[in-house]
């Protein structure tokens, strides 16, 4: 079945540690890929998106993601996390009329 999967359910890091959250999708052809973040008690916010071109995309708050077509992956990275990055992170594919989201990864950053 076509889906979006995220490798980690819960990631716990100390401040200044590097972050990589995995995302894989099973859709063929051209895909539009997104990462959203949901801070505690808040709505989902767009971190970054990939449509085409440079497979390394930069988003807000120092986040970036790399699209690797051969691996059907779109992993999210940040060189040095902060306590304020504690949130839920969702990878998603846009199918033209709606999104299909992954199950989310909870990131807890310890001060």
């Amino acid at each position: 079945a076509q889906s979006v999967s995220q490798h980690n359910h819960h990631v716990i890091l100390s401040e200044a540690a590097s972050l990589e959250l995995g995302c894989n999708y099973s859709y063929g052809g051209t895909v539009n890929l997104f990462w959203y973040v949901q801070y505690p008690g808040q709505h989902l916010q767009l971190l970054l998106k990939y449509f085409s071109g440079d497979p390394l995309v930069k988003g807000i708050k120092g986040f970036e993601a790399e699209f690797i077509k051969s691996k059907f992956s779109f992993n999210l990275r940040k060189p040095s996390v902060q306590w304020s990055d504690t949130a839920e992170y969702f990878c998603a594919v846009f199918l033209g009329q709606n999104f299909v989201f992954g199950p989310g990864t909870r990131l807890s950053v310890l001060p």
Partner: protein
């Protein structure tokens, strides 16, 4: 001003009851959506409306009925609530169908006891 607002934020109710969740957007968007986030945190599309017209209706029990009185509002009415309906329901809007520029609401956590 909140761009997409949902009410209530929390809803606890007994099985068998009927309840509604309201959503309003002040962005001037034409398209609105309801997504359901289940206990395993999967976010799935339920409905979308474009300018009051139903566009997407995924496999959702008939007990769920969306209503869009105008393009700024999309309400979700649920009849005969069941335990399995417990979830977080997110409303969203976008400029139009086919637009990825979603703005999400903060969600309504529904708990059926």
């Amino acid at each position: 001003d909140t761009a997409v607002s949902q009410t209530p934020k929390y809803l606890v109710t007994q099985m068998g009851n009927d309840k509604s969740i309201k959503c309003e957007q002040n962005l001037g968007h034409d398209t609105m959506y309801w997504y359901k986030q289940d206990s395993k945190k999967f976010l799935k599309i339920m409905f979308s409306y474009n300018n009051k017209e139903l566009i997407i209706n995924e496999t959702v029990p008939n007990r769920f009925s969306p209503k869009s009185p105008d393009k700024a509002h999309l309400n979700l009415h649920i009849n005969s609530l069941e335990l399995g309906d417990s979830a977080v329901y997110f409303c969203a809007s976008s400029p139009g169908t086919g637009s990825y520029g979603y703005t999400f609401g903060s969600g309504t956590r529904l708990t059926v006891v």
